[in-house]
């Protein structure tokens, strides 16, 4: 339970460039085997690092392989080329130091909200009574104290996301991977969830990789926005830092002048890719 993050100075062996970063993707390429025997190259030549405590948003047109990057960082996908480093160590198997928030519903439908959150502690060997107690606290933190005994189908989409958020955070992972987590929610709920996420994150800034197709959401939440090109063989075509002060309210910050400047700047890059992706889609149809 050593809370200290592996500081680069204390280590002798691993590559120093990797050590400072929570996640580093180097020369990454990911390909999928097609039914016809060929390969589809989703992303290639990806070099991306996320520093400890940094909130990085990844935007790009639909189908550009944003989620693929997350899955590689999570260890759910094996890269065809390149390597994935987690705190300086090459990743093999699943990434035990990361929590993952999925776009789709990923809660166990046969467990109540409370049981879904509590079960996340079982792999760490936490006893049932203590797990329940801590799960209750986490449900309180995401504003669902009154819904502990509900099953997922009795909750709204936003409430299910809150449970999933608590389920991910209760394990206290060092890295948070989020794949368009608020995508299926309506606009107001997205804002509420965004603020909730920022509040929880501010408590103990973890490294975050946040995938979204919504540029405004990306800027409002993150320290850095990475833009990916249209697929196939998508690459990183832009990397912008977001110098907005924290704490932020993601509804208010959209009215900020700086916000608009950043948005205009990134959109200039993103627009080209979105149009490319759109043209490809038309061509295919």
């Amino acid at each position: 339970m050593a809370a200290a993050t592996p500081a680069s100075g204390l280590r002798t062996e691993p590559a120093p460039a990797l050590a400072r970063n929570a996640v580093s993707l180097e020369g990454l390429a990911i390909a999928f085997a097609l039914g016809s025997g060929g390969h589809y190259r989703a992303v290639e030549q990806i070099d991306l690092s996320v520093a400890d405590g940094e909130f990085v948003a990844i935007v790009g047109p639909t189908g550009c392989g944003k989620s693929t990057l997350l899955n590689a960082a999570a260890g759910l996908l094996k890269p065809a080329e390149g390597r994935v480093g987690i705190y300086g160590e090459p990743l093999s198997g699943l990434n035990r130091r990361a929590g993952y928030l999925f776009q789709q519903d990923a809660l166990m439908p046969w467990k109540t909200a409370l049981a879904n959150v509590a079960v996340a502690l079982e792999p760490q060997g936490v006893g049932a009574a203590e797990a329940q107690e801590r799960a209750r606290q986490w449900l309180g933190r995401v504003g669902l104290s009154a819904f502990a005994e509900r099953y997922p189908h009795m909750l709204s989409g936003g409430q299910r996301k809150r449970v999933a958020l608590a389920q991910m955070l209760i394990r206290n992972p060092e890295i948070l991977l989020m794949d368009e987590p608020f995508g299926p929610l309506d606009a107001q709920t997205r804002q509420i969830m965004g603020n909730l996420l920022l509040d929880l994150w501010a408590a103990d800034r973890k490294a975050v990789m946040f995938v979204t197709h919504d540029l405004e959401e990306a800027i409002a939440l993150s320290d850095r926005v990475v833009v990916m090109s249209a697929g196939p063989a998508a690459r990183i075509v832009g990397d912008y830092s977001v110098p907005l002060a924290r704490p932020r309210d993601i509804a208010d910050i959209r009215l900020d002048k700086v916000f608009h400047e950043i948005q205009r700047e990134i959109w200039a890059t993103l627009k080209v890719e979105v149009q490319k992706a759109y043209a490809q889609g038309e061509g295919r149809a």
């Binding site: 999570a74 759910l76 699943l94 990434n95 035990r96 990361a98 929590g99 993952y100 999925f102 789709q104 519903d105 990923a106 809660l107 166990m108 439908p109 046969w110 467990k111 109540t112 079960v119 996340a120 079982e122 792999p123 760490q124 819904f147 099953y151 997922p152 189908h153 009795m154 909750l155 709204s156 409430q159 999933a164 389920q167 394990r171």
Partner: protein
């Protein structure tokens, strides 16, 4: 209100059917015999009287008990082996691929043709009936569990793995509950088939049981006895089905559209 209305209609249909049966099997409409010859069709009153008598005299209880024991054994053994094999094959795709043609073959076989061979192997007692019911129940449960385990949502599975669950924990928190749902959705059918196995087995050769009673009545052209046996069978099936539904409600509370407590907020 609506529920009562529905119930009234349901009872009405039953009564209308019985009334029609009664009228056409007793009123002669000018002919020498009623349109439904009571020799072949009996009459509802006779059937009710016979059923009442067989319960009142107590002689039916022994037969009912034996049929229920056979049903319970066939169901219990069939369902548990079905679950075990469904699980095993779903988690070991190679094994499943090797056995696939044989399982399909065995399932395609009309199970009734196995009755004589079971009779040879297990004798005229209850075990030949249990074996027949087993072959019916096993495949239903097996296929359902097999399907259920293989179709566990990949997202739920990936999420559970990202939470750090090991194989044993995945089994307990993901695969097993998923399979259980499918097992329960096949349970109504499976219990029905267990009973079918028992009754058909008894019908083909036995010295006790409801199937035996029906066969006995049939062999002396006692249609009233046959119908009475059918009524008792139907009642048993309905009682078992209601019990099943209650168990299912209890165990599958988490499923959408399954209890009235569901509401969106």
């Amino acid at each position: 209100m609506k529920r009562l209305n529905l119930l009234a209609w349901q009872i009405g249909v039953g009564l209308a059917f019985l009334a029609a049966w009664h009228v056409f099997s007793t009123v002669k409409f000018g002919g020498a015999k009623p349109p439904l010859d009571p020799f072949f069709f009996s009459t509802p009153l006779d059937v009710i009287a016979r059923t009442w008598k067989s319960f009142a005299s107590g002689e039916i209880w022994r037969h009912l008990w034996i049929t229920l024991v056979e049903t319970a054994l066939a169901f219990g053994i069939g369902a548990s082996t079905g679950v075990a094999f469904g699980f095993g094959f779903a988690l070991r795709p190679k094994l499943a691929a090797i056995f696939d043609p044989y399982i399909k073959m065995a399932n395609a076989l009309p199970r009734v043709v196995l009755a004589p061979i079971f009779m040879l192997w297990f004798g005229l007692g209850i075990w030949s009936k249990v074996a027949l019911g087993f072959t019916l129940v096993f495949f239903i449960v097996f296929f359902n569990v097999y399907q259920g385990v293989r179709e566990v949502s990949p997202v739920v599975l990936a999420n559970a793995r990202m939470l750090g669950m090991n194989d044993r924990q995945l089994m307990r928190h993901v695969y097993w509950p998923a399979a259980l749902t499918w097992m329960f959705s096949s349970l109504h059918t499976a219990v029905g088939f267990a009973l079918v196995g028992a009754v058909v087995g008894e019908y083909l050769g036995a010295s006790a049981g409801l199937g035996y009673k029906i066969h006995e009545a049939e062999s002396v052209f006692d249609t009233t006895g046959v119908f009475s046996g059918m009524v008792i069978l139907a009642a048993v099936v309905i009682i078992i089905d209601v019990a099943m539904t209650m168990v299912e409600r209890r165990l599958l509370v988490w499923r959408p559209n399954h209890d009235s407590g569901a509401h969106q907020t």
